[in-house]
């Protein structure tokens, strides 16, 4: 945990510096404005467009240094902890659940929501949860059917369908 604390502080510190740099960006349509011209007070206009994000990210950067000092002095809870940032269970959980979520997201782009929802529910409930096929199938099919009728039919919010789009045309003809 101690190592993770300082690594995260460094990453967030770099992120803060990047935001400071980005905040000072001048609009591309006005070449007369130089970088960081917008982070202060502009005569007759008040604070520039970069004022608020720049100084906030500067405070973020100072906080990262402060977190680093606390880490060095061992005053924050994670900096005193010898426990791993993620133990074996945590790593496995992140792999199977977090990975599953990202997989779910990727499948949405390919098969749309109505292909991805049952696949994700089967993956989670059957293979991670160890539930029976009967229960898994009932919930995954039920959830998918509910979403279709609720969003696409009742609310006319058309969810992406990816390569499965042609399969839904007959359904639209029946229900819409």
């Amino acid at each position: 945990m101690r190592k993770a604390e300082i690594v995260t502080a460094v990453i967030l510190g770099i992120l803060s510096l990047c935001i400071m740099w980005k905040s000072g960006e001048a609009p591309s349509w006005d070449p007369s404005v130089a970088r960081f011209d917008n982070i202060g007070l502009i005569e007759g206009e008040g604070p520039g467009s970069g004022f608020w994000p720049f100084w906030l990210s500067f405070i973020m950067f100072l906080c990262c240094i402060w977190i680093g000092i606390n880490w060095f002095r061992g005053t924050s809870t994670p900096s005193q902890s010898n426990e791993p940032f993620l133990d074996a269970h945590g790593q496995r959980m992140l792999m199977v659940v977090g990975g599953g979520l990202i997989g779910f997201l990727i499948v949405i782009y390919v098969l749309g929501f109505y292909g991805a929802i049952p696949l994700f529910l089967i993956y989670y409930m059957r293979f991670l949860g160890g539930h029976t096929w009967k229960l898994t199938t009932t919930i995954s099919v039920g959830m998918t059917v509910f979403c279709f009728f609720f969003f696409d039919i009742a609310m006319r919010i058309v969810l992406p369908k990816g390569y499965l789009e042609p399969l839904f045309i007959p359904l639209y003809e029946i229900f819409l």
Binding site: C63, S76, M93, G129
Partner: protein, 507 residues
């Protein structure tokens, strides 16, 4: 008298079939969400916010969606006690202190008394808070009408300062959390100059800004769920509860012993709830502490004293109503859940703040009326359906978690019809999970994301008005004291640190 007439009108609107139905549904959902370990009112409200667009499109106004969400909030406060008592795991952080005496009571075969005491104390706490809300809200709104830009910005500064001074989390991490929330709220186009800001890697998805729901659902729908799955790794055993009519009547009679705790919780909870950064969790803990300290039988606390359940349960309900007060009258939320509610109001086209009472009485009074109605519904549903909730608590997390993940992704897409937002939401959720492990508080970031788009224009307009002179925040009669209080709160940890050093040196 005007207030009373407006309130009665509001209650009549809240009792219309559609609104009553939504209140019942919201309470049931809230009770379930609150009872499930790892889920709280904020998760329920955030995940279901996109679905309120459906309600709005059917009813054509913002009142019904808000009644639905407020009912979830109410129900969740009641529900937290169910798992605290029967499982020994708080359903939500607001019910942590209910576990102290609730669990020992359950283990000694008095779970039914504990559950009924929690429900009745919540009802009394909610009712007292509603009466105080009705009295205070119009007065506070009338005062707040005289607020200009510097005053509003000073108030927002104070809201953030409360997190730093009184939040109890790691200070640099809290400040970081506030600032990152405010920065993320600036992504998109600057509304004053029209210049693009923080369009990372020129991704067009950022040009419309990072939407509030993407962050709220990412943090509370994905991040919190991952955190719960990671932390709740051991199975739990549920205590058997006698839910016969005779035992419930016996438990209602027993409630007379919990009067003191209920009253302490009801009043203390309301005032703690008003404070930004405080909310229901510290309110409940404080009420428990005060009830114990002022008791003649302190040694029985922690071993199954019914006042130890009544005080925190009355307080968390009362505080949840209290947290609505600054949200509706000043436009400043007192808790993450009210931050989501505030964002909902903005999405539905309302402008929270003092003018809400003047310009939107058709929204305000039915909502306040619905607080009373939801409170009655919540206690009735809670008492009547205790066996159902006990059955639902047996639902394995491996069924609930994937369904919440699916709802989070579908809900985010349905709200904005943009797959970029869905992808960003998942990434935000995973990032929030990592930050949570390292003790970075997420609640200040959520509040900052909501308040950022209001705070920045107020600051800029104030500085434009004063020609860039920051003393405008100190010299005006209302803004000055508020800014000073905010600064004291910001420097409070430093003052405490120096004081401790001096004391340590002396000893």
């Amino acid at each position: 008298m005007d207030i009373l007439i407006s309130l009665l009108d509001g209650i009549m609107v809240a009792l219309q079939p559609i609104n009553l139905g939504l209140a019942v549904l919201g309470v049931v959902v809230g009770l379930f969400v609150g009872a499930m370990p790892g889920l709280g009112s904020v998760n329920g409200v955030a995940i279901l916010l996109p679905f309120t667009f459906v309600i709005q499109s059917i009813t054509g106004g913002a009142t019904s969606p808000m009644i639905f969400l407020a009912a979830i909030y109410y129900g969740a406060m009641y529900g937290g006690a169910i798992s605290s008592i029967t499982l020994g795991i708080p359903g939500a952080s607001t019910a942590v202190s209910t576990t102290f005496d609730g669990r020992p009571m359950a283990l000694s075969g008095r779970a039914h008394i504990a559950l009924v005491a929690a429900a009745l104390a919540s009802f009394v706490g909610g009712t007292i808070a509603n009466v105080m809300f009705t009295g205070f809200a119009p007065l506070l709104a009338a005062v707040a009408l005289s607020f200009g830009d510097p005053e509003v910005f000073a108030l927002m500064l104070m809201a953030f300062a409360t997190f730093i001074g009184l939040g109890g989390d790691d200070i640099p991490k809290t400040i970081f959390s506030i600032c990152i929330g405010l920065v993320l709220a600036t992504v998109g186009f600057d509304i004053v100059s029209g210049e693009p800001r923080l369009i990372f890697f020129d991704i067009t998805g950022f040009s419309h800004g990072i939407r509030f729901l993407v962050l709220a659902i990412g943090v509370y729908g994905i991040g919190e769920m991952l955190w719960t799955i990671n932390t709740n790794r051991h199975g739990t055993s549920m205590t058997q509860v006698d839910v016969s009519a005779r035992s419930i009547i016996e438990a209602i009679k027993e409630f007379r012993h919990a009067k003191r705790g209920t009253l302490i919780g009801s009043f203390l909870g309301f005032f703690v709830g008003i404070l930004p950064a405080a909310g229901a969790t510290p309110g409940a803990l404080m009420a428990y502490g005060v009830a114990k300290l002022t008791s003649k039988d302190q040694s029985s606390f922690g071993k199954g004293n019914v006042n130890g359940i009544a005080a925190p349960e009355a307080a968390n309900n009362s505080a949840s109503t209290g947290a609505m007060l600054p949200m509706m009258t000043l436009g400043i939320p007192g808790s993450p859940t009210t931050a989501v509610l505030l964002a909902g109001m903005v999405i539905w086209g309302l402008q929270p703040g003092p003018l809400l009472f003047t310009n939107q009485p058709d929204f305000v009074w039915p909502l306040i009326g619905s607080f009373y109605v939801s409170n009655v519904i919540a206690v009735l549903v809670n008492l009547a359906f205790i066996p159902v909730f006990l059955w639902m608590l047996r639902m394995p997390f491996t069924i609930l978690a994937p369904m919440i993940f699916v709802l989070s992704l579908v809900g985010t897409y349905a709200a904005y019809l943009d797959m970029f937002d869905v992808s960003l939401m998942v990434l935000v959720g995973i990032a929030a999970f990592f930050l949570r492990i390292l003790d970075y508080p997420v609640a200040p970031a959520v509040l900052a994301i909501v308040l950022g788009p209001i705070a920045e224009p107020k600051l800029r307009q104030s500085l434009l008005f004063s020609d860039g002179d920051f003393s405008i925040f100190f010299t005006r009669p209302i803004a000055g004291p508020i800014t000073m209080i905010a600064l004291i709160l910001i420097f409070l940890p430093l003052i405490k640190f120096v004081k401790n050093k001096i004391t340590a040196k002396k000893t």
